[in-house]
């Protein structure tokens, strides 16, 4: 009575095939990532040491470490965050909490999404024109960070807006009803409940900012400088540009060092992501609806 019919068996077969295909696709995704990280660790791992992290390159970059580039990348990322997070979050708050839903708002939203797709080299040229020349910041951390900020702003805005829109409308109405102004509603209810989503945007931004080369190449990064930056008006080395430089422009750099630099760069990105994700999980735990 409960024996499988031919039709049953056919659907099982179809299901089996579908499952196998999906599984294969997942593997196809994971394998390259593991291969890349594996290669980096295998080839660059031996180069990593405290000395590598904390000394400048020597001898035409064929020896020594990455310290100035490491510090430079941190400068670039932090300054870019300081510029883009407040602006991006404020813009997203305006667009989703204050702006009326009309043609203009929708056009602006569309423009922002399109801005996210502009190639980074275009942002780089914009940065040269706007920050290096027009605002006369010269090639400096400031100009490079602002270029990075402009580039990542759409990501922050879009992520923040999505996080804000995930907060149930009923919460806002409950607040307005007790006579809260929009700003009080945002501060007491909307932001606390969307902060984890906003952090996602920041995570994406940090990863992208620390890895980009094109936008900083003409605006503030320099191939070699032993001094650490002292202010945002100095030029600086940066991990991504350093890697590009020793891999393509400089001859005689041992493979170990090149892979070591790449490993440190990926390490920074992963570390920053891990910190943000940890923070996010913690905040999500506080959220209760």
């Amino acid at each position: 009575m409960f024996d499988a019919t031919a039709l049953n068996r056919r659907s099982y077969r179809a299901q089996g095939i579908a499952k196998a295909v999906f599984c294969l696709m997942t593997v196809a995704l994971v394998v390259p990532v593991l291969l890349i990280i594996g290669t980096l660790i295998y080839k660059g791992g031996p180069a990593i040491s405290w000395e590598f992290l904390f000394t400048p390159p020597r001898n035409g970059m064929t020896e020594g470490g990455v310290f100035p580039a490491l510090v430079g990348t941190i400068w670039l990322v932090v300054v870019a965050l300081l510029a883009s997070v407040p602006v991006g979050v404020a813009a997203a708050l305006y667009l989703s909490e204050y702006a009326p839903d009309n043609l203009l708002t929708r056009t602006i939203n569309l423009a922002i999404i399109n801005l996210a797709g502009v190639p980074s080299i275009v942002h780089a040229l914009f940065g040269v024109g706007a920050f290096v020349h027009f605002f006369r910041f010269g090639t400096s951390i400031l100009a490079a960070s602002l270029t990075l900020a402009v580039m990542t702003l759409p990501v922050v805005i879009v992520a923040t807006r999505e996080a804000l829109q995930a907060v149930p409308q009923a919460f806002r109405e409950a607040c307005w009803n007790m006579g809260a102004t929009r700003w009080q509603t945002i501060r007491k209810v909307v932001l606390p409940n969307s902060i984890s989503g906003i952090l996602t945007g920041v995570i994406l931004e940090v990863s992208r900012t620390s890895g980009e080369t094109a936008p900083i190449m003409f605006t503030g990064a320099t191939a070699f400088i032993v001094f650490l930056p002292e202010s945002v008006f100095d030029q600086t080395m940066a991990m991504s540009y350093h890697l590009y430089y020793i891999a393509t422009q400089q001859t005689g750099v041992p493979e170990e060092i090149t892979f070591g630099v790449a490993l440190v760069l990926i390490g920074i990105v992963l570390l920053m992501n891990a910190i943000s994700i940890g923070f996010r999980v913690y905040l999500r735990g506080l959220k209760k609806w």
Binding site: P100, D101, N102, P168, A170, F171, R172, E173, A174, C175, W176, N177, M178, G179, A180, T181, Q184, K188, V189, N193, K287, K288, W289
Partner: protein, 268 residues
């Protein structure tokens, strides 16, 4: 917030808590309210009945201007609350909403503790004007929760999240948190529709207890509830007010045939 503005609650006004004159409302091109003239008397419970989609929620949301959130809504006509035109230029929205508390169809406690929920409005308004002691807050908390018959059930878990309460308790909490703001009017949009029969009865009992202290306008699909728990009743159909009168009269001898059809269950 402009605290120097005259408090609408202390001003002389007529017998109506809410009075609309020729109120029309459009959602974009769709007209949802047609020439609504409604006078909700002070201090009593008025129920509002009518088939789904006739504009009950829309009318309620117009009275505290929550509907403005939707950019494509347009209104003409006037709405007077406690004798003041709420569409007037010098009207402070915050003051309007303080006077008109609203209870929604789905209980919507904020995702914070029970205590913070009840004190939310109080902290927003009182605590900004003067120093509020913890003892005073506790007093407000207890009296609000007692008024909605919730104190005994939640007094041991005041700092637990409000979203962990049952729906009935959540709805009572949503009423409780309006009270510290001292509204004159409570608008309730099908407050019992998400509740089971026991919860419905409990919330109905509560609404009846609040009678006299507040002007209450309650939307309901439950004919028996309207009949039991209100003194006046409004019947709406397709964005218009068809009939408005004393509840027993409206149910026993309706003037309009549509009303009769509806209360006898011939509409959806």
């Amino acid at each position: 917030m402009d605290s120097g503005r005259q408090d609408p609650g202390t001003v002389e006004h007529g017998d109506y808590a809410i009075e609309t004159r020729g109120l029309n409302l459009w959602y974009g091109d769709f007209q949802a309210l047609f020439d609504v003239d409604l006078g909700v008397k002070r201090g009593i419970i008025t129920s509002m009945i009518g088939p789904s989609g006739c504009g009950k929620t829309t009318l309620l949301r117009t009275c505290n201007r929550i509907i403005e959130r939707l950019g494509y809504v347009r209104t003409t006509g006037s709405v007077n609350v406690l004798g003041h035109d709420i569409f007037g230029d010098d009207v402070e929205l915050v003051q309007v909403r303080k006077q008109i508390g609203m209870v929604f169809q789905r209980p919507n406690p904020l995702p914070i503790s029970i205590r913070e929920n009840v004190l939310f409005g109080f902290r927003l308004h009182e605590a900004r004007l003067r120093r509020v002691t913890a003892a005073e807050e506790d007093e407000v908390l207890e009296s609000s929760l007692r008024q909605v018959l919730l104190w005994d059930t939640v007094k041991d878990r005041l700092d637990k999240p409000a979203t962990g309460l049952s729906l009935e308790e959540q709805q009572k909490l949503c009423i409780a948190r309006l009270l510290p703001v001292k509204p004159e009017v409570l608008l309730m949009d099908e407050p019992c529709s998400a509740l089971d029969p026991a919860g419905t009865e409990a919330v109905e009992e509560l609404i009846w207890r609040l009678r006299g202290d507040y002007t209450i306008l309650i939307v309901t699909h439950n004919m028996a509830q309207a009949r039991r728990a209100s003194e006046e009743c409004v019947f709406m159909l397709l964005g218009r007010i068809v009939e408005h009168g004393r509840t027993e009269e409206l149910f026993l001898s309706p003037e309009h045939s549509e009303t009769a059809d509806y209360i006898e269950g011939r509409y959806g």
